[in-house]
Amino acid sequence: MTEKKLDLLQGTLDLMVLQTLAAMGSLHGYGIARRIEQASGDAVLLNQGTIYASLVRLQQRGWISAAWGTSDNNRKAKFYSITKRGRQQLAQDAAYWQRLSSMMGRVLAMQGEGGDR
C-alpha cells in the first residue's frame, strides 16, 4: 500500500513557491507546480490549481512579480520571478521553518527516551 500523500500546512505552499522561484529563476504556474511535485518526490498532495491563489497572494505582497512571455515551445504563458523583497521574506521564513522543524524533531525524539518508564 502506498503511503498517503501529505496535506499541506497553512502557508507552506507560499514558502515552497518562493523557494522554487529563488532556485529556478523565472517560471510559469505549471512549471512551479511540477517543480514542487518533483522536489518533494511526488509526496505532496497538490491540486495544481491551488497554486494560483498562492501566486496572486505573493504577487500582491510584492514578493514575486509576473509578466506574460513565451515558453521554449512557443506557448504564451505568465512567468513569475522572485523580487528582492521576496528573497528577504524567503530567508526569514526558511529560517523560521528550519527552527520549527528542528525543534519539532527534538521534541518528538524525546518521546523515545522516556518510553520505558
Binding site: 510559469h28 491540486n47 495544481q48 490549481g49 496572486v56 500582491q60 506557448r75 505568465k78 521574506q89
Partner: protein
C-alpha cells in the same frame, strides 16, 4: 507594510474583475495546455492526457474561485450581491419598503435633531478660544437678580490686580437696556440694542473683528472719542454689509460715534450671555463713568493653563475677605462663586436636555420594535423562500447576513430621509430667536451629528433586524417547507414574539405619554401662576425724552407725554417705568429704619423700579394698602416708596410698614403703599423683595411707556408712535411689546421642552398604534380560515369582533401595566423638572391609560371589523 500593500492590491483587484478574470482564464488554459503536452510526450492518448491534466489540476472552477477570493474582497462581493438582491426584493414590495423607511426616517430624524440641540447646548464647546478655561464669576450676594451676580468697578479692578489664578479677567455690563441707543441718519430713527464691554472683552474671548479692529485702551477711557463695534447681523441688516462703514461715524443718541470694526458672524453675544436677546452694537464700558453706579459689571475670567475652577475658587475665598477688609465702603456681603462659563450658560438645561434625549431614544426603540414586527410578518410570509435557499446550501450565517443587509438598506434609506427631516427641524429652531435657550441660533447638523446618524442607523438596523433574521434562519427546514403558511392558527410561537414586541412598544409609548403629561401639567401650572400683574391688553414701548438730567424737568416732560398718550382713543391708562418685570432688574439698598440687622444672614437690598403715577395701574398690579404715587410727590417733597408684600414682611415682620420710615440707599423714605408681589425675575420662582420709587424723586435707567387699552394693543401701535413722534420727532421706531411677550419669553424654554416632548409622545402613540394594528391585522389574516370555520359553525359577527378586540386589549393592558410601573420610576427622575406637579400625578397617569386604550381600541377595531366580515364560504374555499 506588506499587508497594507496587499490590502491596496486587493482593493484595486476588486475594481478590475473582468480583465483579471480574463487573465486568469488565459493562464489556466496555458497551464492545462502545458500539462496535456507533457502527458502526450509521456505517451498517453489525447483523451487520457487531457483527463489526467484536469485531475492533477483539481477543479478549474474551484481554483478560480480560490484565486478570486485571495485576490479581491470576497466580503464586499457578497455584500454587493446581497445589496442587489435586497433592492430587487424591496422594489417588488414597495408598500412595505416605503412604510418602513418612513417610520425609520421619523425615528432617526427626531434623534438627529435632538442630538443637534444637545450637541449645540451641552456638548459642543462655546464658540470662543480655549473655552474650557473661561470662568463665570457671580458676586453671589443675598439678593436675587442681576445685582446678585455683578460687581462694582472697584471690585473688578481689585480683582484684576490681586488674583493669581487668572490670565485675565474681563467684564461686561449686563444691564442691557442701559446701552440701547437711538440710531438716526439712516432712514427712520431706530432702536438699537447695545452692550457695554470692557476693553479686554473680545481679546479675552479670542474674538477678532471680521473687519476693522477691537477697541483701543484709549477708547475705554473717560472723554475718549466714542467708538462702536457692529454685530454682524446688524451690519448686514442696517448697512447692507457695506465694508466702507468701518472708520465712518454713525449717530447714536444724536452723538457721532466712530465704527471701528464689525464682529464676525460666528459671534453672537445674546446666544451665550443673554439667551433670547439680539445685540446690535458693542461699546466700550467706560469704567470711570460706571464707578459710582454700584454693581454694574458681570465678570468673566480666563484661567491660567493648568489651573482648575476649584483652585481659582479656593484662591478667591481667601482673597475676597482681604479685599473686603481693605474696602470698608464696599458691599459687605461680597463673595464669589465661580463656575465654568459653559456650566453657567447651559448647566441648568442639562436635565431637560437629557430628558429630551431619552424621549427620542424611546421613540427610536418604538420604531425598532415596529420595524421588527413588520420584518417578522414579512419573514413569515417569506419563510418558504428561506427554507428553499437553505435547502440549496445557504448556511445560517449567510441568511442572517442577507437579512441584516436588508435592515441596513432600510435603515440607510431611513437615515437619509431622517437627515432631511432633521435639517428641517434644526433650520426651524435656529430661526426661533425668541426662545430663551442659549446657543440655539448656532444649532446645525454638523459632523458630530452625522456621526451620530451613522451610529443610530447602524444600531437601529441591528436592533430591528437581528430578531427576525435569527428567527427565520433558526426555523426548522422541514416544517417551513411543509407549512402551508396561511389559513392555520399554527405558529403560536411566532405570534408570542410579536405579541411581546407589541407589549413592549405600548409600554414605551406609555412612559413617553406619562412624561409628556406631567410636563404638560407643569406647564399649565406655570401659566396659571399669579404674576402680580395682568399681561393681557397691556403693552410697552421704549420712549425717548430729554430732561437734561433734572428731576423737575422730567416731571413736566413725563406728565406731558402721559397726558398726550392718555388722550389716544382706546387707551385706558398709561405710565412709565424704567425696568419691566421679567425683563431687566437691579437692586438698591432697602432697610427698615431703626431695626438692627444681622448682615451674615440678612439682606439689605431689594429690586428697585422707578415709576410714574399710573404705572402700577397700567400693569394691573394690586395695591394692597396705602396709595399710589401722584404728581404731588415732587423732588422737594417728602421722599416716598411703595414696597411689595415680601419686602414688608421681611423688613417689618409683624408690623404694618405703612407710614413708617425706610432707608432707601441710606436715605429716609416714607412707605406710602404696599403692593402684591410681582414675579420680577422668573415666573417659576417666588418673588423677591421689591420697591417702587417715583421718577420725580429717583433717577430711572431708561424708560418704558406701559399702556393698558380696551382694544388689542397692536391696533394702537401706529397712533401711539404718531403721538410720541409729534411730541418728540426723535422718538425711535422702537418695538411695541405686548407685556404678554415678556411672560412668553420667560416661559419659552419650558414651552419649548413641553412642545417637543408632547410631539414625541404623539409620535410614540402613533407608532405604537401602528404596531398594534399591524399585529392584530396580521393575525386576523392568518386566521381567516379558522374564523371562517367558526362562523360556519355559528359564531356571530359580534362574537368574532369581540374575540379580536379582547385579544388587542389583553396586549394593550399588559403594555400599559408594564409602562405604568416604568413611568412611576421614570417620573421620579424628572421630578426636578416638574412645577407644582407630583411625579405621581393621577391625572397624567389616568389620561395616559385612557388615551392608550382608546387608540388601541381603534387600532384593534379595524381588523376586528374585517374579521367579522369574513365570508365563511370564501374563506373555506380559499385553500
Amino acid at each position: 507594510m506588506d499587508s497594507l500593500r496587499q490590502a491596496l492590491a486587493r482593493l484595486r483587484a476588486f475594481f478590475r474583475k473582468a480583465p483579471l478574470d480574463r487573465d486568469l482564464d488565459a493562464e489556466m488554459a496555458s497551464h492545462l495546455a502545458f500539462a496535456i503536452e507533457e502527458n502526450l510526450r509521456r505517451g498517453l492518448s489525447p483523451a487520457e492526457a487531457s483527463r489526467q491534466a484536469l485531475v492533477r489540476f483539481g477543479g478549474v472552477a474551484q481554483a478560480a474561485e480560490q484565486h478570486r477570493e485571495t485576490r479581491g474582497l470576497p466580503a464586499l462581493d457578497v455584500f454587493l450581491q446581497d445589496l442587489r438582491y435586497t433592492l430587487r426584493t424591496l422594489r417588488r414590495d414597495r408598500g412595505f419598503a416605503s412604510v418602513a423607511v418612513l417610520i425609520l426616517a421619523l425615528g432617526i430624524g427626531v434623534n438627529i435633531a435632538v442630538f443637534s440641540v444637545v450637541n449645540t447646548i451641552l456638548l459642543r464647546p462655546l464658540p470662543f478660544r480655549d473655552p474650557q478655561r473661561l470662568v463665570w464669576m457671580a458676586s453671589d450676594r443675598g439678593v436675587g437678580g442681576l445685582s446678585a451676580v455683578t460687581y462694582t468697578v472697584d471690585a473688578y479692578e481689585e480683582f484684576q490686580r490681586h488674583n493669581r489664578s487668572f490670565q485675565d479677567v474681563t467684564a461686561y455690563d449686563p444691564y442691557f437696556g442701559d446701552n440701547d441707543y437711538k440710531l438716526t441718519g439712516h432712514g427712520e430713527p431706530q432702536q438699537v440694542a447695545g452692550v457695554a464691554v470692557a476693553g479686554s472683552f473680545f481679546p479675552l474671548l479670542g474674538i477678532q473683528p471680521a473687519l476693522g479692529r477691537p477697541f483701543t485702551p484709549e477708547e475705554c477711557q473717560k472723554g475718549a472719542r466714542p467708538a462702536v463695534l457692529l454685530g454682524h447681523f446688524f451690519w448686514q441688516r442696517q448697512f447692507a454689509a457695506d465694508p466702507a462703514i468701518v472708520g465712518k461715524a454713525i449717530l447714536l443718541n444724536d452723538r457721532p460715534v466712530t465704527v471701528v470694526g464689525v464682529l464676525p458672524a460666528s459671534f453672537d453675544f445674546g446666544s451665550v450671555f443673554a439667551p433670547g436677546l439680539k445685540m446690535d452694537v458693542y461699546v466700550p464700558a467706560i469704567m470711570d463713568k460706571l464707578r459710582n453706579e454700584g454693581n454694574t459689571l458681570a465678570l468673566v475670567g480666563r484661567l491660567k493653563p493648568a489651573v482648575t475652577v476649584a483652585q481659582a475658587q479656593a484662591e478667591v475665598d481667601v482673597l475676597m475677605p482681604q479685599i473686603r477688609a481693605a474696602h470698608k465702603d464696599w458691599f459687605d456681603d461680597y463673595a464669589t462663586a465661580m463656575t465654568a462659563l459653559k456650566d453657567h450658560v447651559s448647566g441648568k438645561l442639562r436635565r431637560s436636555l437629557v430628558v429630551l434625549w431619552c424621549a427620542v431614544g424611546l421613540i427610536l426603540l418604538i420604531v425598532c420594535v415596529n420595524l421588527s414586527n413588520l420584518l417578522l410578518a414579512r419573514a413569515a410570509a417569506r419563510s418558504k423562500e428561506f427554507a428553499l435557499r437553505s435547502a440549496l446550501g445557504a448556511g445560517r450565517a449567510r441568511i442572517v447576513r442577507q437579512l441584516l443587509t436588508e435592515s441596513l438598506v432600510l435603515a440607510g434609506a431611513g437615515a437619509l430621509l431622517g437627515l432631511g427631516i432633521a435639517l428641517g427641524i434644526t433650520g426651524y429652531l435656529a430661526r426661533q430667536g425668541s426662545i430663551a435657550l442659549p446657543l440655539l441660533s448656532t444649532i446645525r447638523v454638523d459632523g458630530a451629528a452625522l456621526g451620530w446618524t451613522l451610529i443610530v442607523a447602524l444600531g437601529a438596523a441591528i436592533l430591528f433586524g437581528l430578531a427576525p433574521s435569527l428567527k427565520v434562519s433558526g426555523g426548522n427546514l422541514q416544517d417551513a417547507l411543509k407549512d402551508a403558511g396561511h389559513g392555520m392558527s399554527a405558529g403560536r410561537k411566532h405570534d408570542r414574539l410579536r405579541a411581546m414586541l407589541v407589549v413592549s412598544e405600548v409600554a414605551l409609548a406609555c412612559v413617553l405619554l406619562v412624561g409628556a403629561g406631567l410636563l404638560l401639567r407643569s406647564f399649565l401650572r406655570v401659566l396659571d401662576v399669579d404674576l402680580g400683574f395682568q399681561p393681557s391688553r397691556a403693552a410697552a414701548i421704549k420712549i425717548d425724552y430729554n430732561d437734561g438730567g433734572k428731576r423737575e424737568r422730567r416731571s413736566v416732560v413725563l406728565q406731558e407725554i402721559l397726558h398726550r398718550v392718555s388722550a389716544i382713543p382706546g387707551i385706558q391708562s398709561a405710565g412709565v417705568v424704567d425696568m419691566l418685570p421679567l425683563d431687566r432688574n437691579r437692586s438698591w439698598g432697602l432697610q427698615a429704619k431703626g431695626r438692627t440687622y444681622h448682615w451674615d444672614k440678612e439682606v439689605g437690598a431689594a429690586f428697585v423700579y422707578i415709576v410714574t403715577p399710573g404705572y402700577l395701574g397700567s400693569m394691573g398690579m394690586q395695591l394692597r394698602e396705602g396709595r399710589d404715587f401722584n404728581w404731588q410727590d415732587t423732588p422737594t417733597s417728602q421722599p416716598v416708596v411703595i414696597v411689595n408684600q415680601a419686602a414688608a414682611r421681611y423688613h417689618w415682620p409683624g408690623q404694618d410698614p405703612l407710614g413708617r420710615i425706610a432707608l432707601v440707599n441710606g436715605k429716609d423714605t416714607r412707605v406710602i403703599g404696599i403692593i402684591s408681589d410681582v414675579r420680577e425675575s422668573s415666573v417659576e420662582e417666588g418673588s423677591g423683595l421689591e420697591m417702587y420709587l417715583p421718577a420725580t424723586q429717583a433717577d430711572p435707567e431708561g424708560a418704558e411707556l406701559v399702556v393698558r387699552s380696551q382694544v388689542p394693543p397692536d391696533a394702537l401701535a401706529s397712533s401711539l408712535l404718531r403721538t410720541l413722534r409729534a411730541y418728540n420727532p426723535e422718538q425711535p421706531a422702537a418695538e411695541f411689546r405686548p407685556i404678554q411677550s415678556l411672560v412668553d419669553h420667560a416661559v419659552s424654554p419650558r414651552r419649548f421642552f413641553v412642545m417637543l416632548v408632547a410631539i414625541f409622545a404623539g409620535l410614540g402613540l402613533l407608532l405604537a398604534s401602528l404596531g398594534i394594528y399591524g399585529v392584530i391585522s396580521y393575525s386576523v389574516t392568518r386566521q381567516t380560515q379558522e374564523i371562517g370555520i367558526r362562523m360556519a359553525l355559528g359564531a356571530t359577527t359580534k362574537r368574532v369582533q369581540l374575540g379580536v378586540i379582547a385579544r388587542t386589549m389583553r396586549l394593550v393592558l399588559a403594555g400599559v401595566a408594564l409602562g405604568a410601573v416604568t413611568s412611576a420610576v421614570a417620573a421620579r427622575w424628572i421630578a426636578a423638572l416638574l412645577f407644582k406637579t407630583e411625579p405621581t400625578d393621577p391625572a397624567a397617569f389616568a389620561c395616559t391609560v385612557l388615551l392608550l386604550s382608546a387608540v388601541a381600541l381603534i387600532a384593534g377595531y379595524i381588523p376586528a371589523r374585517r374579521a367579522s366580515r369574513i365570508d365563511p364560504m370564501i374563506a373555506l374555499r380559499a385553500n
